[in-house]
């Protein structure tokens, strides 16, 4: 029972790290790509876009945060189910909305609030299930325990 609680807590911490890195990374990428302008789907257009991306500090910073997201995602997926981590990570959309209201004082539409509510209910539903069900994870756990 204590190990189950410990598993839930460490999964929650890693999912939160994932969410924060993904939210910040996506924001920086969107801003960086908007500054670079629309990508033309031709050889010269793609080359120009690659140059713009390579020289944009905003995009590099976004990539750094997305690397942080990937590291925390890899870590949590070493013990938790993919089908548990993936929907739980969607809490980031709810976080983005809360930040938009609280920090940026933006007005949020009713449709968006309903979306946030659906995400929160969905995350709670997924959160009620066992974080680890796959045989691969259990066999790794047994192997580690026997060491």
């Amino acid at each position: 029972m204590a190990s189950e609680k410990r598993l839930r807590i460490k999964t929650l911490i890693m999912v939160l790290a994932m969410v924060v890195c993904a939210v910040v990374g996506d924001l920086l990428l969107k801003r960086g790509m908007s500054e670079a302008g629309a990508v033309q789907f031709t050889a010269s257009g793609l080359g120009h876009a690659l140059m713009q991306m390579a020289t944009s500090g905003m995009i590099w910073l976004g990539i750094l945060f997305l690397l942080g997201f990937m590291a925390s995602q890899m870590t949590v997926m070493s013990w938790a189910d993919y089908s548990y981590v993936m929907p739980a990570g969607a809490f980031g959309y709810a976080l983005q909305t809360f930040l938009a209201v609280v920090v940026l004082h933006e007005t949020v539409s009713a449709k968006r609030w309903i979306g946030v509510l659906l995400i929160c209910v969905g995350v709670v539903l997924v959160g009620q299930t066992k974080p680890r069900t796959s045989e691969a994870a259990e066999s790794v756990e047994k192997a580690v325990a026997s060491c």
Binding site: S78, S83, M86, V116
Partner: protein, 122 residues
């Protein structure tokens, strides 16, 4: 037509990549302690795993599709459609990773998928 193709690459690339990396991470085994050095060693071991090497090109293709779609369309178009990856991912988890996706988890995945689409469209 190109937009549909890029959306396909976005959804299947990210889901396929994450499934491969998830499988690779589980085969590596979780880090015993959450200390920076042990985490770095763990990440190094995952990154040298063949499943990770399969997942990265898939995720890179998805990433570039996302960047191009962001430059062509508003976020409110790209994200709602990409929310389908939650359902595709749950199917992959059940049939490829053999995870137990019970009714509560399915309900959660579908609610999250609908919620993400509504947040982005709103």
């Amino acid at each position: 037509m190109l937009t549909v193709l890029l959306l396909f690459v976005l959804i299947c690339g990210s889901t396929g990549g994450e499934i491969a990396i998830s499988h690779g991470a589980k085969r590596t085994g979780e880090p015993k302690r959450m200390r920076p050095r042990e985490l770095l060693v763990f990440i190094g071991r995952v990154m040298s795993n063949g499943w990770f090497l399969l997942g990265i090109p898939l995720m890179a293709a998805s990433f570039f599709a996302l960047l191009i779609l962001f430059s062509w369309h508003p976020l409110s178009f790209v994200i709602p459609i990409s929310a389908l990856s939650y359902v595709v991912g749950a199917l992959g988890a059940k049939y490829i990773l053999k995870e137990e996706v019970n009714a509560a988890r399915w309900a959660g995945v579908i609610l999250v998928c609908a919620g993400v689409a509504m947040v982005a469209a709103g």
